[in-house]
C-alpha cells in the first residue's frame, strides 16, 4: 500500500504560510509521508478553510503580513477548539513562539526544519489526538510480511523449539536464546517477534560482539550532537529504534561490565538517556538476548553481572546443534538447495543419496550456517544440476571432523585447554587448577579460542 492509496482516515493537515515555496515544499513533503494536506497563503484564507472543512493539525507561520500567526491562533481556538496548532517560527522569533505555547499551541518548529524533528513532532501531535495509531496504519501493510520465517526442522528437538517459540511469543517476557554459533538464533528471535503482538513494529538487531565499548554505548543508547568530537548530528540508539517493537541483543556475553551496568538500568527502567543528553526517553520494548557463551561460568568468573543474568534469563530457548538433530539435515539441505537455485537462476537440482549420506554423517561444528555454505559451494562448483558428494567441501566429504592440530603454539595451547576442559567436565575451577592458571585467565583463553561447552554439559 502506498501513501495515496490509504483511506480517508489519514490525518488532515493545513499549512498556513505566506511564502508559496514553503507552502508547496511542505505540502509535497507531508503528502508523500501519507498525510492529507491543504494549504492557505494567509490567515484569512486559513479561517475560511477551517470554517468549511475538517482539519486535524494546522502548521501556522507566526510571521505573516496582515493578521499574524498569533492572532490567527486565537481566532482558530474560537472556531475550531479541537484543532492542534503547531507554530512555525524563525530562529530569531522564538519569543513569540513561547507566547503561542502559552496561548495553547501544541508546539513550535523553527525554519529551516530538521526533517526528522518535523516528522516526529507532527507524528506526536497525531498520536496525541489518537486519530489513528501508527500500529493500525502499519497493520494494513505489514500483515503480509509478518508471516513466520523459515525454521526448518521436523526432529523432536526442533519441534520443541517451535513449541517454545509459540508459547513465549504471545507474552512479553524476556527471552534468552542459547545455542552454538550458526544454529540460527536470529531466525528464532525473528520467529518470536513475528508471532508477537509487537510484530507491526521493528525488531532491531544489535550484534554486541561486533562493537567496541565506546561505540556500543552510542549504538544502544544514542548520543546527542556534540556529545564527543566529531558528532556533528545526534544519533539515535537501537533502543529508541525498537520503540514498540523488539530489541535483539545478539552475543550478549560480549559486552563489557561498564555497559552491562547501563544495560541493566535500561532494562529495568525502560528509559534511555542519550550519551551527552539530559532528557530521559521512555521506550516500550521487548528484549530477546542470545549467546553461545556459558553465561553461568561468566557469572562465576565475575565477567558477567549476576543481576543482569537473572534479568535476561527469564525464558530460555535452547537451540540444539545440528549434530544432535541429524535427521533434519536432508530437509535443510533440500531447503537451501531450492533457495540457492532460485537465487542463482538455476534449474531446480537434486542431491544424490550418496551426498545426503555424507552430509548426514558429518558433525557440522559450524551448524546450519556451515551446511548452508556447503550447499552454496556445491551448487557453484557443481557442473550439473545435481549435487554429488564430491562437490561438497573436503572437510565434509572426508567424513571425519577430527580436529587437525596445527603446529603453532596457539594451536597446541588451544588443544591442551580443550582437552583439559573436557577431562574436567567443563568445571572451570577444576580445569583452571589443573592448568595452573586462575579462572579469569582460563575464561579469557576460552573466549580467545572460541571453545564451547556442549549444551548438555556432558563434555
Amino acid at each position: 500500500m502506498t501513501a495515496d492509496e490509504s483511506n480517508a482516515q489519514q490525518p488532515a493537515l493545513l499549512i498556513v504560510d505566506d511564502e508559496p515555496i514553503v507552502q508547496q515544499s511542505l505540502a509535497d513533503w507531508f503528502r508523500s509521508d501519507g498525510y492529507d494536506v491543504d494549504s492557505a497563503g494567509s490567515a484569512k484564507e486559513a479561517l475560511r478553510k477551517v470554517a468549511e472543512g475538517r482539519y486535524d493539525i494546522a502548521l501556522v507561520d507566526i510571521k505573516m503580513p496582515g493578521m499574524d500567526g498569533l492572532e490567527l491562533q486565537s481566532r482558530l481556538a474560537e472556531v475550531a477548539p479541537d484543532l492542534t496548532i503547531i507554530m512555525i517560527t524563525a530562529f530569531a522569533s522564538v519569543d513569540s513562539a513561547v507566547k503561542a505555547l502559552k496561548a495553547g499551541a501544541y508546539d513550535y518548529v523553527t525554519k529551516p526544519f530538521d526533517p526528522d524533528e518535523l516528522s516526529h513532532l507532527v507524528r506526536r501531535a497525531v498520536e496525541h489526538r489518537s486519530l489513528r495509531s501508527e500500529n493500525i496504519r502499519l497493520k494494513e501493510s505489514l500483515e503480509a510480511i509478518a508471516g513466520s520465517p523459515t525454521i526448518i526442522g521436523a526432529s523432536p528437538a526442533m519441534r520443541r523449539v517451535l513449541e517454545l517459540v509459540g508459547a513465549v511469543s504471545e507474552t512479553d517476557a524476556t527471552v534468552l536464546i542459547r545455542g552454538e554459533s550458526g544454529t540460527g538464533k536470529e531466525l528464532v528471535a525473528r520467529a518470536v517477534h513475528n508471532q508477537s503482538p509487537r510484530r507491526y513494529n521493528p525488531m532491531v538487531v544489535v550484534n554486541c560482539g561486533a562493537l567496541a565499548e565506546g561505540v556500543l554505548e552510542s549504538e544502544l543508547f544514542g548520543h546527542e550532537k556534540g556529545a564527543f568530537t566529531g558528532a556533528q548530528y545526534r544519533h539515535k540508539g537501537k533502543f529508541e529504534m525498537a520503540d514498540g517493537g523488539t530489541i535483539f541483543l545478539d552475543e550478549i556475553g560480549a559486552i563489557t561490565k561498564k555497559v552491562q551496568v547501563e544495560l541493566l538500568r535500561v532494562l529495568e527502567d525502560k528509559v534511555v538517556t542519550r550519551v551527552g543528553g539530559q532528557t530521559p526517553i521512555p521506550i516500550d520494548f521487548r528484549v530477546i538476548a542470545a549467546t553461545n557463551q556459558d553465561l553461568e561460568a561468566m557469572v562465576e568468573a565475575d565477567d558477567f553481572r549476576e543481576d543482569l543474568f537473572w534479568r535476561i534469563n527469564v525464558f530460555t530457548i535452547e537451540i540444539p546443534p545440528l549434530r544432535e538433530r541429524s535427521g533434519d539435515i536432508p530437509l535443510l539441505a533440500e531447503h537451501f538447495l531450492g533457495q540457492f537455485c532460485l537465487a542463482m537462476n538455476r534449474r531446480a537440482s537434486t542431491i544424490t543419496p550418496e551426498a545426503i549420506e555424507v552430509l548426514s554423517a558429518y558433525s557440522w561444528p559450524g551448524n546450519v550456517r556451515e551446511l548452508e555454505n556447503a550447499i552454496e559451494r556445491a551448487i557453484v562448483v557443481g557442473k550439473e544440476c545435481v549435487v554429488h558428494s564430491e562437490d561438497l567441501p573436503v572437510r565434509v566429504s572426508g567424513g571425519a571432523d577430527r580436529e587437525v592440530p596445527g603446529s603453532s603454539l596457539a594451536d597446541i595451547e588451544r588443544t591442551h585447554i580443550h582437552n583439559t576442559l573436557v577431562g574436567m567436565g567443563w568445571n572451570i575451577s577444576k580445569a583452571a587448577e589443573a592448568l595452573g592458571v586462575d579462572r579469569g585467565t582460563l575464561y579469557n583463553k576460552i573466549k580467545k579460542y572460541g571453545l564451547q561447552r556442549p549444551p548438555d554439559g556432558a563434555g
Binding site: 500500500m1 490509504s6 509521508d33 501519507g34 526533517p115 501493510s141 503480509a144 513494529n201 552510542s218 568530537t229
Partner: protein
C-alpha cells in the same frame, strides 16, 4: 517482456559523481549497486557543466537546483541517471536531505555526506557508507520508477528522515512495492534470505 506497471521502464543506471569524490569509492558504490539491480550500472566520467550552487547563508548545496542540472543533462532513453556527491545537500526549508528525485523523473541525487558513520562521530566504515548509499539510490530510483512511499518500515520505499531508519530498512523493496517495478530492474541472482 512487458513492464509490470505503468509506463516506467529501465535499461541501465548511470552514476555520475558531483564534487570531490574518491574514484575507488565511486567504483565500489557502482559495483555494490549492480549486485542489487538486474540492469547494467555504469560509472560515468564527471560532467563539467554541473555546477553545485551553495544555499545562501548555509554551507550546503542546493539539492533541487542540482537535481535540475542533472535532469538537464542528455540522458539516454531507458536510463536513470544517479548523481552521487559527498557534499552536504539541503533545500531551503529543510536543514538537510539525503537525496532528491521526482516521481517518474529521469535523474536522482544522493548525498553520502550524512550517510557516513563519521558524520555522527562513529568510526569510519566505508562498507556501511556504501550500503547506505546504495539503499538511498534504490529509494530515489524507486521514485523515478514511479514508486511512492511505503508504510512498511522494512521496505526501501519507507520514508526515512534519519540514518538509523535507513539502516533499519535494509536493501529490499517489500512484496507490495517490488511487483510495481519494471520487469528486470531487480537482480534475479540476489540472495534474498
Amino acid at each position: 517482456m512487458e513492464p509490470a506497471s505503468g509506463t516506467a521502464s529501465i535499461e541501465a543506471v548511470h552514476l555520475l559523481t558531483v564534487g570531490p569524490f574518491p574514484r575507488l569509492l565511486a567504483e565500489e558504490l557502482t559495483a555494490r549497486l549492480s549486485r542489487e539491480v538486474g540492469v547494467p550500472c555504469r560509472l560515468l566520467d564527471e560532467a563539467a557543466e554541473i555546477k553545485p550552487q551553495i544555499l545562501p547563508e548555509r554551507a550546503q548545496v542546493h539539492a533541487d537546483d542540482l537535481l535540475r542540472q542533472l535532469e538537464a543533462l542528455p540522458i539516454e532513453k531507458g536510463t536513470k541517471l544517479v548523481g552521487v556527491t559527498l557534499l552536504d545537500i539541503a533545500i531551503p526549508i529543510f536543514t538537510f536531505v539525503f537525496g532528491r528525485s521526482r516521481l517518474g523523473g529521469p535523474a536522482t541525487l544522493v548525498s553520502l555526506a550524512r550517510l557516513k558513520p563519521e558524520f555522527y562521530g562513529m568510526p569510519a566504515d566505508p562498507a556501511v557508507t556504501v550500503r547506505r548509499g546504495v539503499a538511498e539510490i534504490l529509494h530515489e530510483v524507486g521514485h523515478n520508477l514511479e514508486l511512492k512511499h511505503c508504510r512498511n518500515y522494512s521496505c526501501l520505499m519507507y520514508f526515512s528522515h534519519d540514518v538509523e531508519t535507513v539502516d533499519l530498512r535494509g536493501l529490499s523493496y517489500c512484496s507490495s512495492c517490488a511487483p510495481l517495478l519494471p520487469a528486470g530492474f531487480l537482480a534475479t541472482g540476489r540472495r534474498r534470505f
